[in-house]
């Protein structure tokens, strides 16, 4: 089963993953990734975490107060549906759950949830990896974060593009 959602309100990952797992009897494994809004600043100069930009200079070291995700209705959900279909076919999944927040988020709130059910662990894990790379750098979302000095738009890092390129099929 495929379940793809855009949510405007906070959600609890377990409330989706539990029923999703139940809805796929006979599965061998379920892999789930949940990305949350980080307070930023990991104290090691590593930049930002999931759901935020990284390596954008010194301002990254400032604390994040909020995150805002915008999207473009006519493209965003259809794009996620197409991504889910591709993952299901490519990794031979029994089910795929894909949830993405839009709107304003506070630190600690989940931004994204991807859960893949498959007969084999490799398919489930790779599918989550694949979907996250695409949601991060190839889905119709724009995000900005509020720091002490105001709002800043975030672009994917070079690493995100490199991660995405791993999935390109050969010529």
């Amino acid at each position: 089963m495929k379940d793809v959602r855009l949510l405007t309100e906070p959600f609890i990952p377990g409330a989706f993953v539990g029923p999703f797992t139940q809805a796929n009897p006979g599965l061998g494994g379920v892999c789930t990734f949940v990305g949350e809004v980080r307070p930023n600043k990991d104290g090691q100069g590593e930049g930002q975490g999931e759901g935020q930009g990284e390596g954008q200079g010194t301002k990254d070291d400032w604390g994040v107060e909020a995150l805002e995700l915008s999207h473009y209705e006519p493209l965003t959900l259809p794009g996620m549906e197409a991504l889910a279909d591709e993952a299901i076919a490519r990794f031979d999944l029994m089910g795929l759950l894909m949830v993405h927040r839009v709107g304003k988020l506070r630190v600690g709130e989940p931004i994204v949830l991807v859960s893949a059910a498959a007969r084999h662990r490799r398919g489930a894990i790779d599918a989550v990896d694949f979907c996250m790379d695409h949601l991060k750098a190839a889905a119709w979302f724009w995000k900005r974060e509020k720091r002490a000095d105001g709002w800043h738009w975030i672009e994917p890092r070079e690493d995100d593009y490199a991660d995405l390129a791993r999935w390109d099929k050969g010529p």
Binding site: L69, K136, W142
Partner: protein, 80 residues
């Protein structure tokens, strides 16, 4: 009716508006004229896409928006 131009993400800050209605029809040259020079500069970059009527254009310079179309200007994305 007219053509509605939507400025997504950081382009809205740059344009000072989230949308703008202009007269139809609207082609690539016309678009570059009406969006202001900052946004026009962005549009000429490869990583900025344009959707017309809900479809991303393979060749944005082939834009040909008619009455009632929505033209969305799509800067580099960042989700997750």
């Amino acid at each position: 009716m007219a053509v509605t131009i939507l400025f997504l993400g950081p382009l809205a800050d740059m344009a000072g508006a989230e949308s703008k209605d202009v007269e139809a029809p609207l082609d690539w040259a016309g678009l570059l004229e009406v969006v202001g020079s900052d946004v026009a500069d962005q549009l000429t970059q490869e990583r900025v896409n344009i959707a017309c009527d809900g479809r991303v254009l393979a060749d944005k310079t082939a834009l040909n928006a008619k009455d009632g179309d929505e033209v969305a200007l799509l800067p580099p994305v960042s989700g997750g």
